[in-house]
């Protein structure tokens, strides 16, 4: 037998199984759609879905009961080992049957329970989603798949608990349930993944066969603990139990379904499912058995003091889940059988009791025991059902609860823990005592005693639809009690065989086991329970005096504290301070780079140094001096700009000195345009910066700056002192003329070898211009517009806008500068120069006009659409590149030819030239657009009409009376 011990029986069974798993999910749409046809149709559709699934399940029952396993497999994530593998064995059959069967009853019940105002379609859709998830859990043969369904039950139960959105208890309960079960789910994920790792497969069928390997693994204990946390959280075991009572804010059908019969049993199911692989160790015994036992006793005690019917039932459920956990924790096959049997029993009587509580709530208008009592005569049917199901819960013979309790006691008395043979039986005794007591309290408190004068509502028996489902369950409980071997025997035995991996021998279930210690204990519990109930009032006083911590408040306090802490932490860390962010980022960069440097070997290179001439030292002094001046005087912004120019100058000189003429040209021309931009912006901004950083911060920043500066200096030094491997630029040098048609290798690299960079670079410029435009175009509106309207110059100004001598000079300079620009453009391919610099030179030439003669005057004479220029530039570059593709060579492949033109001679025409035109156009467009819009913002601030005259003083001009000097204050 391969890794999968279960053979596929037949394809029809496989298909049926797949349909069972799928149907509730697909069916979830049915109520959502059918609600348009009315509430009955909605319920009917839902019921039909569930009934169909149940029928399909039952059709497979005979095979399964015969010991066969039905499987269905579909690959999903084969690489991960997450596949849609389903299998149906007796355990699955029992649970699936319970889920679908009780589901059907709950649907019927809910049809009558839900009020007209409640959106029923949503309710049933959620319910079916839940049902599907639950069925998925019990049918999964893949633990990853199981995890998916597991989490889905948490999610769908979240929706169901919070179904009544207007109730704060519902919201809180839902969130609490989701949090706790979600937490457990994640723990389970970890545990199951580890389990899969140990077993080498995520398929349950494989895992179940690897029990020995699993228990021998060092990872067994962590896996076990993680899995148990998942199971305990889901099955409301201490200390994760507290969510369950608060989940009772859900509509009662949900409580009956999820919180007694099905979802809370998922943890128990998994304990049972993994029993063969995990149980039998000491850790298992103490962890599972211990937690189960404690939960059972503790919850039973609490249940007695709950006045809310559903609260009482919730703690009772916790207690019974504890009992189940305890049974599986004992690790003996007999205990496992008892556990399996009690699962069925508990489902029958507890679901019935929840429905009963719902009926009481529905009809009497309250679930508070202190306001109830004496309803027996008013609601005889409900009372009868309650008496019977409570009897089962208390373990009164001949109800089914009695039998499973006997079996449990039988196992308990044989159990020794911590070397003490009385400890477990004694604790169990307390548990059953209180179980009996709260069961009695439920019945007596609601139905017996004196009739009250008034109830919140006028109680009478519920409609048939509401009492029939619990009645059916009660009948089942009675039938099992009377003829356990007949009604439940085969199923229990089959399931037990699966759970114990065949270790459990066929066990004959019977009501009467003879007169023995467990029977004595059981009877004593019933009597004691009666006594406890009788002395309830006194006990309650003691209980209240104990003042046990309120789990809800603890949870709320914790989550609120967590959320507050999260908020405080987040806002303390992300305080919005760029200075902090920048410091952290820069410090990280410096540290990371240094860490990289010191963590690998470094050998100082042997490249000889070049002696520095005096002029270089002077330049260095200028650089350091200028930099120091800016750093020290950065608060005075205008001065800083002047000093920045010194640095730009030195950098340009450096490039000249170090044989980089193109860089020098670019640096020089970019510098001035940048300064112009900064000056235009500075006009509208504060001229000084206030002192804001304390000495500490300045010291800190200075330290980082020093460290970063040293790092950069060190890196530069290290690079300059080594030869390094041959650069790829050798190729560029050798092929510049022959392959790129130019002798200025830098330019050929720019427009040819790495023309794509340049293409991207002009796009960056273009986008910058677009963004600048978008920013400035709206500057006249809103807060900014108001601020501009109120703006007054913050410095004294001369009234003269356009000095005559300047205007005259720039008129002469314009054509000269344009010639220079054209020249620089043309020679770029062979000598220093090129499109970018040419574009800047032309821009500067034009800007001179703008500065001298005024923005409006100059702009009228240069009606160029800057957007168009940018768009054209980018397009021209792109089209040049594309042209190559027409000839089947890659984008941007260049071509050049020396074309003889009459009179002019051989002219080198290169496609790179066309590309460079694109570059130049973009540059001009960008610079002009940016300054154009910046200056128009300034004009808006000035609020004076633009001057029509290019110069203020012009003695040759026929003078017309003109308005007073703009915005100026005459001397």
């Amino acid at each position: 037998m391969g890794p999968h011990p279960f053979d596929v029986i037949d394809s029809r069974a496989e298909l049926t199984l797949a349909w069972i798993a799928l149907l509730p999910f697909l069916g979830a749409l049915a109520p959502a759609l059918a609600i348009r046809l009315g509430r009955n149709a909605c319920a009917l559709a839902t019921g039909l879905v569930t009934a169909t699934a149940l029928a399909l399940l039952l059709s497979l029952a005979p095979q399964v009961m015969a010991g066969q396993v039905v499987t269905a497999r579909l690959e999903w994530f084969p690489g991960l080992g997450l596949n849609l593998n389903f299998f149906l064995d007796a355990l699955g059959l029992m649970f699936a049957g319970m889920i679908l069967g009780i589901g059907l009853l709950v649907i019927i019940y809910a049809r009558f329970y839900l009020a007209k105002a409640d959106p029923m379609g949503r309710f049933f859709a959620f319910l079916l989603l839940f049902q599907g998830a639950m069925v998925g859990i019990v049918l999964s043969d893949n633990i990853l798949l199981l995890l998916i369904f597991w989490e889905l039950t948490s999610l769908s139960s979240f929706l169901l608990i919070g179904y009544w959105r207007h109730l704060p208890e519902g919201r809180q309960g839902a969130r609490m349930a989701l949090t706790v079960t979600g937490l457990g789910g994640l723990s389970l994920i970890a545990g199951l993944l580890i389990l899969g790792q140990i077993a080498g497969s995520y398929d349950l069928s494989v895992i179940l066969q690897s029990g020995e390997a699993i228990q021998a693994s060092p990872l067994y204990l962590p896996a076990l603990i993680l899995i148990l946390v998942g199971c305990f959280a889901k099955s409301a075991q201490f200390p994760f139990h507290f969510w369950l009572p608060h989940a009772m804010a859900a509509p009662t059908p949900v409580s009956a379904y999820l919180h007694s019969a099905t979802m809370v049993k998922a943890g128990i199911f998994l304990l049972a499912r993994l029993w063969p692989a995990l149980s039998g160790t000491e850790a298992w015994f103490y962890l599972v058995g211990g937690v189960g036992l404690f939960t059972m006793v503790f919850a039973a005690v609490v249940a007695l003091f709950k006045d809310d019917l559903k609260g009482l039932l919730a703690y009772s459920t916790i207690s019974h889940l504890g009992m189940l956990t305890f049974l599986f924790g004992l690790g003996t096959p007999a205990a496992a059988v008892a556990g399996v049997f009690h699962i069925i029993n508990h489902a029958t009587f507890k679901a019935a009791l929840f429905m009963n509580a719902g009926i009481v709530d529905h009809e009497a208008g309250t679930r508070d025991l202190r306001k109830l009592g004496g309803l027996f005569t008013l609601m005889p049917i409900a009372a009868t059902l309650a008496v019977l199901s409570a009897a089962a819960m208390a373990g009164v013979p001949p109800m089914n609860g009695f039998i499973s309790k006997e079996m449990m006691l039988m196992e308990a008395v044989d159990t020794t823990a911590f070397g003490l043979n009385w400890l477990v039986p004694a604790l169990v005794m307390i548990g059953v005592l209180f179980s009996a007591a709260y069961a009695f309290r439920y019945v007596v408190g609601v139905y017996f005693g004196p009739k009250r004068e008034s109830y919140p509502a006028k109680p009478h028996d519920a409609p048939f639809g509401m009492w029939a489902p619990p009645a059916l369950l009660v009948i089942l409980a009675v039938a099992i009690g009377l003829a356990p071997a007949l009604v439940a025997g085969p199923l229990v035995n089959a399931v037990a065989a699966v759970v114990t991996g065949g270790a459990a021998s066929e066990k004959h279930l019977s009501l009467w086991h003879g007169f023995n210690l467990p029977l004595v204990m059981s009877l004593a519990a019933l009597v004691g329970g009666g006594i406890l109930l009788a002395s309830h009032r006194q006990l309650e006083r003691v209980w209240l005096a104990l003042g046990l911590p309120d789990a809800k408040r603890m949870f709320d306090t914790t989550t609120l504290a967590l959320a507050r802490a999260a908020q405080r932490f987040t806002e303390a860390v992300h305080n919005g301070s760029l200075q902090r962010y920048m410091f952290v980022i820069l410090a990280t960069a410096v540290i990371i780079a240094l860490a990289g440097f010191v963590s690998a070997d470094y050998v100082q290179g042997g490249r000889p140094t070049l002696p520095a001439p005096g002029a270089a030292v002077v330049a260095w002094v200028l650089l350091v001096g200028g930099t120091t001046a800016v750093v020290l005087g950065h608060r005075h912004r205008y001065l800083s700009l002047i000093f920045i120019s010194v640095i730009g100058l030195v950098v340009s000189l450096t490039f000249v000195f170090l044989s980089a003429p193109d860089l020098a040209l670019t640096q020089i021309s970019v510098e001035v345009v940048t300064i112009l931009l900064l000056l235009v912006a500075l006009n509208l901004m504060p001229k000084t910066s206030p002192v804001e950083s304390g000495t500490g911060r300045r010291l800190r920043d200075g330290l980082l700056a020093t460290l970063g500066g040293l790092g950069m200096a060190g890196a530069t030094w290290a690079l300059l002192r080594r030869e390094g491997p041959a650069s790829i630029s050798e190729f560029h040098w050798n092929n510049s003329y022959s392959g790129g048609g130019g002798t200025n290798v830098v330019n050929v690299i720019l427009v040819d070898f790495r023309g794509f960079d340049t293409f991207g670079e002009i796009i960056v410029l273009g986008i910058a211009a677009l963004t600048i435009f978008a920013l400035l175009d709206t500057a006249g509106r809103g807060a900014s517009g108001r601020r501009l309207a109120k703006w007054t110059p913050d410095q004294n100004r001369s009234p003269e806008r356009h000095p005559m001598m300047l205007v005259v000079a720039t008129r002469l300079l314009l054509p000269l500068a344009l010639v220079v620009g054209f020249y620089i453009f043309l020679r770029g391919h062979n000598e220093p120069g090129g499109g970018f610099i040419a574009g800047l030179v032309v821009s500067v030439a034009l800007l001179m006009q703008y500065m001298a003669s005024g923005y409006a005057w100059a702009n009228r004479r240069l009606p160029v659409d800057h957007h168009g220029l940018i768009g054209f530039g980018v397009m021209a570059a792109a089209v040049t590149g594309l042209a190559a593709m027409v000839f089947g060579v890659p984008f941007l492949t260049s071509a050049y030819e020396y074309v003889p033109i009459p009179l002019i001679g051989d002219v080198g025409l290169s496609s790179a030239l066309a590309f460079d035109i694109g570059v130049a156009c973009t540059v001009v467009g960008v610079v002009m657009l940016a300054l154009h819009h910046l200056s128009s913002v300034a004009q808006r601030a000035e609020k004076t009409p633009a001057s029509d005259e290019p110069m203020d003083v012009d003695p040759s001009r026929p003078r017309a009376p003109a308005p007073a000097g703009p915005g100026g204050e005459g001397a």
């Binding site: 005096g614 002029a615 030292v617 002077v618 330049a619 002094v621 200028l622 001096g625 200028g626 001046a629 205008y638 001065l639 700009l641 002047i642 010194v646 100058l649 340009s652 000189l653 000195f657 003429p661 020098a664 040209l665 020089i668 021309s669 510098e671 001035v672 300064i675 112009l676 000056l679 235009v680 500075l682 006009n683 110059p793 410095q795 100004r797 001369s798 003269e800 806008r801 300047l806 300079l813 220079v820 620089i824 000598e831 220093p832 120069g833 610099i837 030179v841 500067v844 800007l847 001179m848 500065m851 001298a852 005024g854 923005y855 300054l931 200056s935 300034a938 004009q939 633009a946 001057s947």
Partner: protein, 89 residues
């Protein structure tokens, strides 16, 4: 001989630039600073030309030419800022 002359001149210009820096830092008026910067730019042009003579290579003229042009524009802009605030109006 030319080498020595060039070296001498470079030293003179370098010294001149250092003096410019001194004036730039000292001020006291803004106009002084602009003037110092402008002078420094012109000295830088001289330095570039001298470097070319020293290196015997004529590829740096455009840099000098451009520096002359933008130096002027920059100085005008700085002055205009003092005069009007708005340099392009």
């Amino acid at each position: 001989m030319i080498e020595i002359a060039v070296l001498f001149t470079i030293s003179c210009v370098g010294l001149a630039m250092a003096l410019n820096l001194w004036r730039l830092a000292k001020g006291p008026t803004q106009a002084d600073r602009i003037l110092a910067l402008d002078t420094m730019t012109i000295n830088a042009i001289a330095l570039m030309v001298l470097m070319q003579i020293q290196q015997g290579s004529a590829v740096y003229f455009e840099a000098a030419l451009l520096l002359a042009m933008v130096g002027f524009v920059g100085t005008v802009a700085y002055c205009k800022f003092l005069l009007r605030g708005d340099i392009i109006e």
